[in-house]
Amino acid sequence: MVSTMMENPRTAWSRDVDLLRCNDATEILIMKVGDVMVRNLARGAHKEANKHLAQWTVLGNPKMIKAYVWLQTSDGSIQQVEQEIAMFCPLICHEIIQKGMGSSKNYAICLPQRVSPAMLSLILDYCRFHQVPGRSNKERKSFDEKFIRMDTKRLCELTSAADSLQLKPLVDLTSRALARIIEGKTPEEIREIFHLPDDLTEEEKLEPLKNTTDDPRIRLLNRLYAKKRKELKERERLKNVEVEEEHVDERSVDDLLSFINGNDRDPKEIKTSKNRKKNRRKKDQQKNSFLKEASELDKETNGHNIRCQSAEADTIGETSNIRHTEDDTFSHKETNGHNIRCQSADADTIGETSNIRYTEDDTFAHKVEFDDGDMDDEIDPALQEKIDREVADFARRLNSDWPMRMKEFLSSSGQERTSMHFPTNGNSFLRRHDYPFLLSRFLSSGVDDISSCCAGTGLRMEMTPYKPIQMT
């Protein structure tokens, strides 16, 4: 391999020495050689580092007495190690050269906490072998293969210890060994080997596993999960059904109409009457529709932010971040219940491909499942204000166009009115002028029960029979 160093370090320091004209040339030389050596070790360039190690040893130790350093491990014990072997580790090298530690028992180099005596002896074995310059690549490779044959626990500890000593080649070797252990195993096997806690929640785990190897065990598991999910869904649906029967929107038609006509009646009253959880859920959905309209007008959504994910949603659903269950309820793991994000792409594509089904026949299908755990029954007052403001805003705008629109509707053909299909824009959020459609329909067709003509919109309301209203 071609050396990637920009400048040959030998020429660099020899040039520096020429420039130095002082008595301590040797000292400075030692420092410089040592610096280069530390840098090379940190990069994993051991051949160059070894060259400098030899020079360094000669410079600092002209009599060639075998030098030892003192190292203190995590348990407090101090041991003596040959200097040239210990110097193979960049951290120790740094300590010796730049801080002058390790020369005696009192000044032993404190090794990082992750280096236990057992790990230190393993690391020193590694260094002892690789530090010898004359070995061939083949020899080094076969040593490495034998060296990493140990149980997983020791391997992890060794990786950790080598990392704390900044011994990059050993870190690479051990992490490659760990990768080989992980490769091709099922999650259960991996958890067993590494003692990983199986602490993903029930629902998180119920997402189908990616069965890329077509493992029959995983297929079976996915099928079991699917069954379990179905059961959970059933249970929830039963719960919902019970509550929905109780839920009645008791706002009268008058209220709604007057609201649209901009009466002074406080819109807040409409919202705060019921405090039941499920009730609020329904209201939230209605609020959502108002809000969506407000948002379309204001071009900003706050409070209940609902943005729908694009066509990729179903693919994303398979991944770890976002769960989607078979019934297309949808939530993001990280939500706090109020923030469900999706991007507003084409409504049509959302309608077609995403997990959120918007069909006209469904009940307001955007059944958002909030994370019930951290939600309480009281609506946050700040949030409430925001909602109220938006609703009022919406009312104002709606009101301003009302007379004109009413004229339009009333003058159009009867056929049109009766066979009105609600332009739900593919997403069944009522648009601004949809509401008048609704009203005009029951006004003109004399329907007693508004709920039947609401069926097409996906908006469920039960109202008292209508009373004629005065139109301007």
Binding site: K153, C156, S160, A179, I182, E183, H195, K210
Partner: protein, 422 residues
């Protein structure tokens, strides 16, 4: 499934180690670690190397199904990934040109991509979008079966060190300017180009690998070149062009590479070098040239033999020589061979002082071959092994070859001549 006995061994290792482990796993295993435990859920998100290989998605007979699931997989991968992506490689024959690849390249260009390898399947060649040329940090680019069209305003990849183009459709001007405007380029590999006349100006270039039909090759500014490997194919019009050429190709190509360490030539390379006027005794010395491998050398063409000789005699430190004979399989004894040639061209004082290993293959036993062997044996004082593999069609002349071989003088006492028979 509760807690197993023992503390968690691996989740608390530093992120750099975890990343180093995840990088060495195949991509699907790396992504699957997200369901191991809550700590592992997002560890894979920030790995900087994504390699999509043949095993990413299960394969089946229907190519479109596999392609669809592959596209879906890569989309998910990129969408969930967080942070810079330094290496992105697709090596999958099921994937062919499709519009999603454009989007991936765009995504990568915004995420500090440094190494990009696109090896798609056979089929329609993918047209590289122009956003690739905005990848400022690119150090390695490897493209297979693509169409490359650099925009006029393209100033070059300032950090590019390695460029590999294999079956890439690119205009000759564009390729030359691409090479010359990447100042740090060290390694260049071009394969399967048609009728290209190429002039290479790359001051930092070290490794050169060329394969294809080249009309003309010129190394104009490549002083640091260390390793050259060229395989030149021939078509009729290129052959015609060769006849008319009068430049000395040898000089044009090997005139400016004093640091050359290894030279490998396949097919018509030696023929190409032989065209043009004879350079005479070369002023050049390749003092670092240690390995020469020339295949398909025709020992009936005096000019080609001359090329080989010139190379050998200009390389005082040559250690390894491999020559493979490659003219017609059946030697035709037309003219009487000019054996004087050898006496003239081989100075008797020229010894190959470092030559240790010689390997000759496809030898037919024609007179010039024997003279060449004689010359080598007589001028290599430290020769250790000479292995000769005769051409398999000429059974009868093998015995003749052996008889002659035995007669030759050997300058090296340790020389072993190994005659390899099938």
């Amino acid at each position: 499934m509760g807690d197993f006995g023992g503390p968690d061994l691996i989740s608390d290792l530093p992120l750099s180690i975890v990343e180093s482990i995840l990088i060495q796993l195949p991509i699907r295993d790396a992504v699957r670690t997200s369901i191991l435990s809550s700590k592992w859920r997002y560890k894979w998100n920030s790995i900087t190397r994504l390699v999509i290989d043949e095993k990413c998605v299960p394969s089946c007979n229907d190519r479109t199904v596999v392609e669809k699931s592959l596209v879906k997989f890569i989309n998910q991968l990129l969408f969930l990934h967080q942070g810079p992506i330094h290496k992105f490689q697709i090596t999958n024959s099921y994937l062919q040109s499709c519009p999603e690849i454009d989007q991936w390249v765009l995504f990568l260009s915004r995420n500090d991509i440094k190494e990009l390898v696109l090896e798609l399947g056979e089929g329609e060649w993918f047209r590289i979008p122009s956003c690739l040329f905005n990848c400022k940090k690119l150090t390695r680019l490897e493209l297979f079966r693509c169409e490359l069209d650099p925009p006029l305003t393209f100033k070059g990849f300032m950090c590019l060190k390695s460029l590999i183009l294999h079956q890439v459709l690119i205009s000759p001007d564009a390729i030359e300017s691409l090479i010359s405007c990447c100042p740090l380029l060290e390694s260049l590999s071009l394969s399967y180009f048609d009728s290209l006349a190429l002039t290479i100006r790359a001051p930092n270039l070290r490794y050169l690998y060329l394969e294809g039909e080249f009309r003309d090759l010129c190394l104009e500014d490549t002083p640091l070149l260390v390793d050259i490997s060229v395989a030149m194919y021939m078509t009729d019009d290129i052959a015609e062009h060769f006849e008319q050429s009068s430049n000395c190709n040898f000089f044009k190509f090997l005139g400016g590479v004093p640091n050359l360490e290894r030279l490998v030539g396949h097919i018509y390379f030696t023929k190409y070098l032989s065209i043009g006027n004879d350079p005479g005794q070369l002023p050049l010395t390749y003092s670092n040239l240690e390995t020469i491998e020339l295949y398909q050398v025709s020992f009936e063409d005096m000019k080609e033999i001359l090329v080989v000789l010139r190379l050998i005699t200009s390389s005082p430190n040559l250690k390894e020589l491999q020559i493979s004979q490659g003219s017609s399989n059946i030697p035709t004894a037309t003219d009487a061979p000019d054996l004087d040639f050898w006496r003239k061209e081989c100075p008797s004082d020229c010894t190959l002082k470092k030559l240790k290993l010689v390997k000759l293959t496809d030898m037919c036993g024609v007179p010039h071959e024997m003279e060449f062997i004689k010359y080598l044996l007589g001028s290599s004082p430290v020769l250790e092994t000479m292995s000769i593999m005769p051409c398999m069609y000429v059974m009868e002349s093998q015995l003749k070859m052996l008889i002659e071989l035995v007669k030759f003088r050997r300058a090296s006492a340790q020389a072993e001549i190994i005659f390899v028979r099938d």
